[in-house]
Amino acid sequence: MLMIEKLEKKYQTDREFILLVDDLQLQEGEFFALLGESGSGKTTLLKLIAGLLMPDRGDLFLNGKPISGLPAEKRGFSMVFQQPLLFPHMNILDNVTFGLKMKGIGKQERNAKGMEILKKMGLSGFEKRYPSQLSGGQQQRVALGRSLVTQPRLLLMDEPFSSLDPTTREEMRDWLREIHRSFGVTILFVTHDPREAFYLADRIGIMDEGVLVQLDEPRKLYEQPVNVKTAKLLGIRNLIAGRVKQGRFVSDSGVIELQLHGQDLEGYLMILPEAIRMRKGGVAGAEELPGTISQIAFVPGFSSLKVEIGKERLEVMQRMEDSYAWSVGESVLLAFNQEALRFIRK
């Protein structure tokens, strides 16, 4: 439905960047997440699509029609910002119906629609209150309701949960999935949190220094990031520098050596922590590496361990088992699921 063509915009954070998006297409009804560090240009791209910023070059099309020349208020998009930005001088109902009022819809009709949307947001009975009387999560729900009541063609969200406390954030995440499903609205969601993107999105686009470096479904992205920076952004920590030679990977430190098919190249070996099998120390079998546990943390259902192999340190996730508890300083042997090993070129 939305199509971006060779969009270009100079923008400034701590230094000057040029945002350049060659081609991006959003599908009707999809949940698309833009993931990137701060300063990567994700918010700039969002504002370009919203019409709050004008591109230096390039075009935007909505269902085939160019919209680059339209001001933000005429595009029929809505946006939820980091802060709820509820107008403090209006009560909740007036806030929610603001967009309808701007469209010139009569008071009776817009109040009826407002009450209906408040009900869907689980905020019936709050209509006469003022924003300062609501909690942060409730305020952000009102903000979302206010954006949905106008039936936008595209809903833009700029890190809408980042100012909420962790528990509320998780609740809101679940709830947003529900809303997305029941309203069938197309959502473009900007975030720097990979877990949030994985949890919510149908597709994720990764931004880095103003460029869309990778775009895929969450699972594919996680299994094959295009470069180390992207892998780190996705929260993958087991990245070992080294090179592939004659079917084997050898780490720069020399302590990790594993069978790995591929061309002779320099780069990084990516090991997903859940693809490592660990057993108590003893005689190492083929393709098993000896190591020492240096740290143990509890993650519900799992033990998250750090295992030192010489100079290298790997993160290992092990399912909790009643029969055995790992301890720090223990010698262990690690085996790797070959299919989960990925090589990322330098």
Binding site: A50, E73, F87, H89, F98, M102, Y130, S132, L156
Partner: protein, 259 residues
Amino acid sequence: MKLSIIKFLVVLGILFFLAPLVLTSLSAGWRWPMLWPAEISWRSWEYLFSGQSQTGIAVFNSLLIACGVTIVNLGLAIPAAYGLIRFPLKGKLIVQIILFAPLVIPPFVSLMGIHFTFIRLGLTESLPGLILAHLTPTLPYMIWALLSSYRTVGPEWEEQARMLGANGLQRMIHVVIPFLLPGILAGSSLSILVSLSQYLITFLIGGGQVITLPILLFPFISGGDPALGAAYALLFIGMAFLALFILDCLLKWSYRRVN
């Protein structure tokens, strides 16, 4: 307890300065070294409220000019302050200095030029001319009050309103102005008070044809009749207090609506 003592002292202080005015306005022939007026007389108050004194027209003119000035000020200062806050502008400092210059430059300097120009344009001796002339000393206060108010309306509020479909005018009316209300009321108070107390500008531009309260007041205090001068001064204070009180009520009402 401490607060009530301070309040008591403030009231005492005001009475200390007002009491001589009240006494003077009621006196007939109060000369040094007499501690009290020899005789109490309502003469000055009777004159003040009599038809020949022009008090009514003076109060009316004063308030009309003050309100007119304030409305024009708002029309000028709301966009001016907006421009200064929102847009990157080369030489912003110079623009600000020019806008605030009337606060430091003696009014007489600009007044002569304004007088000449107004004679040519036929604006002297008229209410519109006076309203325009009163802008010089009042506009800086209005811009000043609005600048600090604008700092509370970050651009994100307008972006949010835009994303809900509000065009420029709608954003101004429904979002920006409600945020500015405290500043608008503070600036209006200053604008009204400064306008009410103008003598020199009114005297020169009005040519003595437009009667305001300071025009009536001045000859009496500069030696003519202290009793009448005192009565007019009290009337002036009352009028100014009333204007402030009304604006203060409006301010509190708007705060209550926001919070």
